[in-house]
Amino acid sequence: MTAPRNTRGTVVIGSTESDAHVVPIFLLSLELENRGYRVENLRCFNSAQSFAEAARALSANALVISNHNGQAYDDLHGLKEALGAENPIPVVLGGHYYVGTGDAADPEAALRDRGVTHFVSTVDGLIDLLEAGS
C-alpha cells in the first residue's frame, strides 16, 4: 500500500565505491518512496566518506548500502570512523556483498567492524527493519 510521501524520515541509499550496479538502487528507491520515505539516491560508486557526509547532512534515519560485486569489505574501509560515534543510525547492507566463502571465517563480523549494523537479503526485510526503528 502506498504511504503518504516523505512522512517516515530520510533514507540515504547507494552502492559502494567499486560497484557499478545501479539498477537495484533505483528499484529500492521506488519501493522506499512508496512506503513514505524521503530517499536520497546517491546511485553508484560511493566512498565511505561520501555515504557518511550525505547521512549527516540530511540527518538521515538510516544509511542503506548496496553491494553486488563482493567488494563491500574493501570498499567500506573507514566508514565507521567517518560516521562517528555521535547520533548513531542503522547502517544496512544488502546484495552480494562478499565473494564466495571469503577469506574471513565470518564476513559479516568483519563488515560489522567496518560500521555495518544490519544485513538484509530482501526488500521486505529492509522495510521491516526500517519500520521497526521508526
Partner: protein, 458 residues
C-alpha cells in the same frame, strides 16, 4: 614534412603532436607508419563487411569476447572463427583499461591475467594486436565502455583496426559518476576526428553507437535518441560510416519497428554523405538461467534481425546469466543466430499494420526528443542542458548528470513503454497515443521490476 601533410585533403599544418588521439601516445608509431601498415595488411574493414551485408540482404554476426592474456585471446578468437566463422570479431576491453587505469591493467596482466574481465589492449600493445589480427579472417571491432576512449583509440589506430564502439552519451551515463558530459563529448569528438582522418586517408573507420545503455529495458525511442545524437556529433567531426545499435527489447513487433526507424531518422538528422548501418544487440537484460529459454531468446533475436533487415547482429550466449562466456557458448550463440538469419527456419508474413503503428509512435517520440537539440546552434551545449533539465534522460543512469526520472515498464504484449516520462518533452500529440504513465509509486515499482525480470522469471 609531417606524415599528416602527405595525405590529400587533411587540415594543412597538422603536425604529429596535434594529430587527434595519437598526440596522447608518443610511444606509438607516427601516422605515416600506421597508414603504411594498413596498406600492407590490406585486411577487410568492418565498414566493408557491413556494406556487403547490406548488399546481399543478410546480416553479419559478431560475438562479444575478451580475455586477459594474448595467448588466451588469440585462441578464443581462432576457436570462434573455426566454429562459427563470424564476419566480424570482437576485442572486449577489460575494466581497468576502460577506466584509464592502464598501469593497473598491466600489473594484473603480469600477475594473474585470468582476473581481467577483458583484453587489456594497451598493456599488450599494438604490435601484438597486429600479429593477432593477421592470423584471423574477420576484422576486429574494439568494444569497451570508456567515457574517454582517446588513448584506447590511438592504440586501435596503431593496431590497424577499423571499428570502434561507443560515444559520449552511451559510454558515460550508464558507466561512470561525476564525469561531466561536456568532457565526454570533447573526448569523443577527438576520437571522431581521428576516425575521420583515417577515413579521409582511404581507410574507413566504422563507429558504432551503443543504444543498449544500461542494458535493462531501454525504451526504443531513448535508444534511438541517444545514438542519433552521438551519430550527429560524430558526423559533425567528419565520420562517414556510423552504425546505430539498438537492444532487442523482446517484443518482436516493437523491435522490428524500432529498427525500421533508423534509416528514416538517419536521413532526417544526419548528413547525406554518411552511411548509416543498423545493428541489433541480442537481449541485454536479465537472461534466463536455463539454456533452453536462453537459446529461445537468442533465436528470436536472430529472427528479429532477419525480419528487420539489419546489417549486423551482436550475439549473446546461453551462459549469459552465469558469467563471461567461453568459446563453446559463443559458437553456439553465433550458429543459432545464423540459423535464424538463414530464412530457412521461419518465414511468416509479418503483422505490418501493428509494425507501422508502433513505428509511427517511435518516430514521433524520437523527433520530439532530438529535433530541438539538433536544431540548436550548439549541439553539445544543448545536450548538456537537456540532460540537466531531464528533457534528455535514460532509465537508471549511474551518472547524476542525467536526472534518472524515467522508468520503463512492459505492456501486456511485453512491449516496452514509459511507466514514468519524467521531464521528457513529448508533445501533446505524441502523448495522446502513449500509454498512461503510472502515477502510483507502488504499482510503478512492481511494474518496473516485472519489466526487468520479464525473461528471467520462470
Amino acid at each position: 614534412m609531417t606524415a599528416a601533410r602527405q595525405i590529400p585533403g587533411l587540415v594543412p599544418g597538422l603536425v604529429p603532436d596535434l594529430i587527434p588521439c595519437l598526440r596522447l601516445a608518443p610511444e606509438l608509431p607516427p601516422l605515416q607508419d600506421i597508414l603504411g601498415h594498413l596498406r600492407e595488411a590490406a585486411r577487410p574493414s568492418v565498414a566493408a563487411r557491413m556494406m556487403a551485408a547490406r548488399q546481399r540482404g543478410r546480416a553479419v554476426v559478431q560475438p562479444r569476447c575478451g580475455v586477459g592474456s594474448l595467448a588466451g585471446m588469440t585462441a578464443l578468437l581462432r576457436q570462434i572463427e573455426a566454429g562459427a566463422a563470424p564476419e566480424v570479431l570482437t576485442l572486449t576491453i577489460d575494466s581497468h583499461t576502460r577506466l584509464e587505469r592502464f598501469a593497473r591493467a598491466a600489473e594484473v596482466l603480469a600477475q594473474a591475467p585470468e582476473r581481467l574481465n577483458g583484453f587489456p589492449m594497451i598493456a599488450h600493445g599494438y604490435g601484438a594486436v597486429r600479429q593477432m589480427a593477421a592470423g584471423l579472417h574477420a576484422p576486429l571491432q574494439v568494444r569497451h565502455g570508456s567515457f574517454d576512449g582517446r588513448r584506447l583509440f590511438a592504440e586501435t589506430m596503431a593496431a590497424g583496426l577499423s571499428s570502434f564502439e561507443g560515444g559520449p552519451i552511451g559510454y558515460n551515463l550508464p558507466y561512470c559518476k561525476d564525469i561531466p558530459i561536456r568532457r565526454s563529448i570533447a573526448a569523443w569528438g577527438e576520437i571522431d576526428e581521428a576516425a575521420a582522418l583515417l577515413t579521409e586517408a582511404g581507410f574507413p573507420v566504422e563507429r558504432e553507437m551503443f543504444g543498449s545503455l544500461t542494458g535493462v529495458a531501454v525504451p526504443p525511442s531513448i535508444a534511438l535518441a541517444t545514438t542519433l545524437l552521438e551519430a550527429r556529433l560524430a558526423a559533425d567531426r567528419g565520420v562517414k560510416v556510423i552504425s546505430i545499435a539498438l537492444p532487442q527489447g523482446g517484443n518482436m513487433v516493437q523491435d522490428i519497428a524500432a529498427l525500421s526507424c533508423i534509416a528514416p531518422l538517419a536521413a532526417e538528422f544526419l548528413p547525406a554523405d554518411v552511411t548509416c548501418h543498423r545493428v541489433l544487440h541480442q537481449f541485454m537484460g536479465v537472461f534466463p538461467t536455463d539454456r533452453a529459454r536462453a537459446d529461445g531468446l537468442i533465436f528470436t533475436g536472430g529472427l528479429t534481425a532477419r525480419f528487420a533487415g539489419v546489417e549486423k547482429v551482436i550475439t549473446k550466449t546461453y551462459e549469459e546469466a552465469i558469467g563471461i562466456p567461453g568459446a563453446e557458448a559463443n559458437i553456439a550463440g553465433l550458429n543459432l543466430t545464423k540459423g535464424a538469419l538463414s530464412g530457412k527456419l521461419c518465414d511468416l508474413p509479418l503483422p505490418q499494420d501493428a509494425i507501422a503503428a508502433e513505428r509511427a509512435q517511435i518516430l514521433a517520440e524520437v523527433r520530439d526528443l532530438i529535433g530541438p537539440l539538433i536544431a540548436a546552434p550548439n549541439l553539445p551545449a544543448a545536450i548538456e542542458a537537456a540532460l540537466a533539465s531531464g528533457e534528455l534522460d535514460i532509465p537508471f543512469p549511474a551518472n547524476p548528470v542525467a536526472r534518472g526520472l524515467i522508468y520503463p515498464v512492459r505492456d501486456q504484449t511485453g512491449a516496452l513503454r514509459y511507466g514514468r516520462i519524467g521531464n521528457l518533452p513529448f508533445s501533446e500529440r505524441t502523448r495522446a497515443t502513449m500509454a498512461e504513465p503510472l502515477t502510483d509509486t507502488g504499482a510503478l515499482s512492481e511494474a518496473v521490476r516485472d519489466a526487468i525480470t520479464y525473461f528471467s522469471r520462470p
